[in-house]
């Protein structure tokens, strides 16, 4: 197996863009990544595209060649990956395999979602399709409802408080307010979160990630060629993908994500690192409780202590392990299929020292965790600065 590096990153802003279609967003992100990598589209050997629900959101199937031809790729394999909110994380994992195995030397991984052209109840219905539609879905579970039930159980077993959940939203909005590409660039207060519109008790609108349009892309090559493309490459130390039950009621303990624990443990082993050696992380905060549990599952704090850990400031910029310096899905936005690769772009920006006001002091090693559904897919990636 060859070592692999990320030599180009590209993103569109995340937000509600009524005048932009899915393809133009995806092409913009790919073009940005190719420019960063000094790669011509004609050199690209394969295109892996993460997208959750383009057919439902915009009525378009066959998305990878649809985007790939518009981006200037010529006759190469173009394939869409779908693993709910971990779609582009999964695309990255498979693209990495192809380069590590020596099949390709230049690969583009994209992610895209165009969500805001649908009404909120319709979006809730489409997103619910990432759960078990014959069971929990039929009973009326939305994604906020599934994570609300996870939060309730975590609060019951570990004493996690409503305020500790809110602390995640407050922190991530404080970070996202400084991110020029974030969807909701505004700070929120603890009082605003607590008094927010109820979505699914105990979660208010401020505990939920945003419904966004946006696209992301990275270019990966073998490590031995990386410096030729971009001296500011990032080395892929580890990338792992795991799975678990889709239905929440099939899991024995919903206060943890077994797929996250397994993906994290495998990734640490692959990288030869412990959680203490990670300088910063982008965790999948689709809901505030998800960041708290991921911080436990990945070993940044002990089981059950994710709430106090978040409230202590340990996960803020300047804290022991800065989490979601980008603003996270909470403030930056969550165009579902674009999120996994977007996290990698955000980590690479930090590793390069390009994160501006959000820059962390120690930025040699970053971890990204991308979750699908209520924990049925997880992709963990560890990147190191060049």
């Amino acid at each position: 197996m060859r070592s692999v590096a990320v030599v180009g990153i590209g993103k569109t802003p995340f937000g509600a863009f009524p005048d932009r279609d899915l393809r133009s967003l995806a092409v913009e992100a790919v073009e940005n990544a190719l420019r960063d990598a000094t790669v011509d589209p004609k050199q690209v050997e394969a295109f892996y595209l993460g997208n959750f629900a383009g057919p439902s959101f915009v009525g378009q199937n066959h998305l990878a060649p649809y985007v790939g031809m518009a981006a200037g790729f010529e006759g190469i394999p173009c394939t869409r990956f779908e693993d709910a909110c971990a779609s582009s994380g999964a695309a990255f994992f498979h693209a990495w395999q192809s380069v590590a195995a020596g099949v390709y030397d230049i690969v583009v991984v994209g992610g895209v979602e165009k969500m805001t052209s649908q009404t909120t109840p319709k979006v809730a219905e489409i997103l619910a399709g990432a759960g078990d539609m014959a069971g929990e879905g039929r009973a009326g579970a939305t994604f906020p409802a599934l994570f609300a039930m996870i939060a309730r159980r975590h609060m019951h077993q570990f004493g996690t408080t409503r305020e500790q959940l809110a602390a995640v939203a407050v922190k991530n909005h404080a970070n996202g307010a400084k991110n020029p590409l974030a969807h909701m660039r505004k700070i929120v207060t603890m009082q605003q979160v607590l008094a927010g519109k109820p979505i699914s008790d105990p979660l208010t609108v401020y505990d939920c990630s945003l419904v966004s349009d946006g696209a992301t892309a990275v270019v990966i090559v073998p490590l031995e060629h990386a410096a030729r493309f971009n001296p500011r490459f990032a080395k892929v130390l580890a990338v792992t993908q795991t799975s678990d039950h889709v239905a929440l009621d099939h899991k024995s303990d919903i206060t943890l994500f077994p797929a996250v624990k397994a993906a994290g443990e495998k990734a640490y082993k692959m990288a030869g690192l412990s959680p203490k050696q990670i300088d910063l992380a982008e965790l999948h905060d689709c809901f505030t409780i998800a960041e708290i549990i991921a911080s436990e599952d990945l070993g940044f704090t002990t089981k059950g202590q994710g709430g106090p850990f978040a409230a202590s400031g340990a996960t803020a910029i300047g804290g022991q392990i800065p989490i979601n310096t980008s603003g996270g899905l909470k403030s930056k936005g969550h165009p579902v299929g674009a999120t996994g690769v977007g996290q990698l772009c955000d980590i690479v920006m930090q590793l390069r020292g390009d994160a501006g006001e959000r820059q962390v002091a120690k930025h040699n090693i970053g971890l990204a965790q991308n979750l699908g559904g209520s924990g049925a897919t997880c992709v963990v990636t560890i990147l190191e600065a060049s």
């Binding site: 909120t120 319709k122 219905e125 069971g135 009973a139 939305t142 409802a145 109820p198 239905a247 009621d249």
Partner: protein
């Protein structure tokens, strides 16, 4: 007949419903531990219950189990 009664493992009250259930909102959704090791089920609760409460199976409506405290 095996029982379908059980204990509330976790619950939430859904305010923002998916399109097909918008008329039901707000409604309580729960995961119930069915007595005697009968597994878990995601169901609706007709009158509000909390974690640990015993609930009684009432009826199936369109494939969805409804419970009462």
């Amino acid at each position: 007949m095996p029982t379908r009664d059980g204990v509330v493992y976790t619950e939430t009250v859904v305010h923002a419903a998916p399109e097909q259930y918008a008329a039901d909102a707000p409604y309580q959704l729960a995961i119930i531990d069915i007595d005697g090791g009968g597994g878990r089920i995601t169901a609706r609760i007709l009158n509000r219950a909390q974690i640990g409460d015993r609930v009684r199976f009432v009826e199936d409506r369109n494939g969805v189990a409804y419970y009462s405290k």
